[in-house]
Symmetry: D2
Subunit: 168 residues, 4 copies
């Protein structure tokens, strides 16, 4: 495997995982991505690169945004790609990336969090660990890593009432 | 896949991941396993079961202890087994489990932490996430999930000076 | 000092300190008060009692709400009262309690947080520690404990642009 | 009050509050002081200065060490002094500082932690908040801030069996 193919590319697009809290405004906003800090805390020794594509709630992603994510996946020289993403439309983006993964021999894993990584109790570090593992061990294709499960990207949906991902 | 085979079995054996701190004695001790709490925080929706085998530093594991771990792996009806383990002799235990994994069509992932899970900054949740993902996606056999990497269990060692796992 | 007077009464009214995050709605809400958990983590050996008065952003407090807080302070048999409160109108409530503190020989300390206590990095535990200390050591009257400072309750304002409390 | 007298001086001497964990050695050691980080997280707006005097378990403090702490208190131009200290002999150091506080019109507060500040669940931020408040509001003299209580420095002891401070 070439060095580029071995490197893990992490594309950040926003979502709950990167939410900050602003008291003056009494609201949440998406801040700098926590991905780099989470990988440092986990003492990741793999070569990796973090690229910020956008910083949006996934409900606010436009068709152009989604096309930009698909393009970034297609053009990346990497065979291992992790995408951090808001959870509400994560499954839509997984379907948009669709056949690229398998066709180009790339393993693409989408991942997010149900609670901001900046919370003391968050699923973010566990979920990112799942994504980093799956991108090394899962077959080429598109996957979603949430709720302790590696779902095929075309067979998963978010159950908003239960706030959990489930097979679809 | 039968329900039992689908369930993830988590065997805990001790190690840094479960270290507590006692001020009165100015020393650490291995406490109740944090595995259940980490899985709850990660909102794991997979069926799983946690079984405590022992509560030891991995340098203190005897031949009998290691034999008990191997036996637990062999006798478990589960096809997906995660073992939390101290890091110093994790590779030894991986070798002891050896061919059982592939022979019995089981995926076994050993995992631990370089900093106690009770620390604010610990690799424990990320590592456990890696293990839970790898046990679902990696081929039958024995694996070690540390430092952001899924290592084949017979081709890894801990570099104690660097306090990191590396291919061997 | 009688036992009742010695006991610390903690009145909770809401505010950022108790903010939760809900992904499905992409919004925050005020949850169960974290005060009890913070006192347990701090291993507080003082007798104390926690009473929830309301659960509101301080910008949403009505005149009736503020009157209820003043009444609770007046009627409490305790000489040591801590009030957790949103920061935006904390100084208003301090002025409303006004002379009660000194007149009735009660030390009242208002405290809140600029980041939710559920965040890994929050001023909440430090601030609550300040309040619990000031309620034991400050003279009867009304005080605000924020930004590392014990302010007299009638000589402090929140600088919203700087998101910090300052002498006024 | 002059600016120097207003500034809070924080002297660090070691103890559990600053304990790190080293996996390679399977032991705890005292690391860089966490005091600066705790004050930053608490958004302390008071002027303060942190000076490291030593980095020891309090059971290892020699007579010379304790004399150096007393001297630092005596010679400091500050009227507000916080000392972070291991808990086992904190009361001894408080007695050694003894009458200096009241005689020189200085308020001195000793504080530590029963769990390392680097733990997710630690009494360290709450305790440091207590100390920073007490140093502003307590009368000149020597105080100990532990277990939610501001104790007079000559009337407190650590109950090692219960791992808690109590009036003596």
């Amino acid at each position: 495997m070439t060095e580029m193919a071995n490197e893990i590319l992490l594309l950040t697009t926003g979502g709950t995982i990167d939410k900050l809290y602003f008291d003056a405004l009494s609201e949440y906003r998406i801040g700098d991505s926590v991905v780099g800090r989470l990988l440092a805390t986990a003492r990741v020794a793999q070569p990796f690169r973090v690229v910020e594509l956008m910083r949006k709630d996934s409900l606010e992603l436009t068709d152009e945004d989604r096309a930009a994510i698909v393009q970034a996946v297609r053009e990346a020289p990497n065979a291992r790609i992790v995408i951090t993403h808001g959870t509400d439309t994560m499954a839509d983006t997984a379907r948009a990336i669709g056949g690229i993964g398998a066709a180009e021999n790339k393993t693409v894993v989408l991942v997010g969090a149900l609670a901001p990584a900046r919370f003391a109790e968050s699923d973010a570090p566990f979920n990112l660990g799942m994504a980093v593992a799956a991108v090394q061990t899962a077959a080429p294709g598109v996957w979603i890593a949430m709720n302790g499960t590696i779902f095929p990207g075309d067979k998963v949906r978010k159950n908003r009432a239960a706030n959990t991902f489930e097979a679809a």
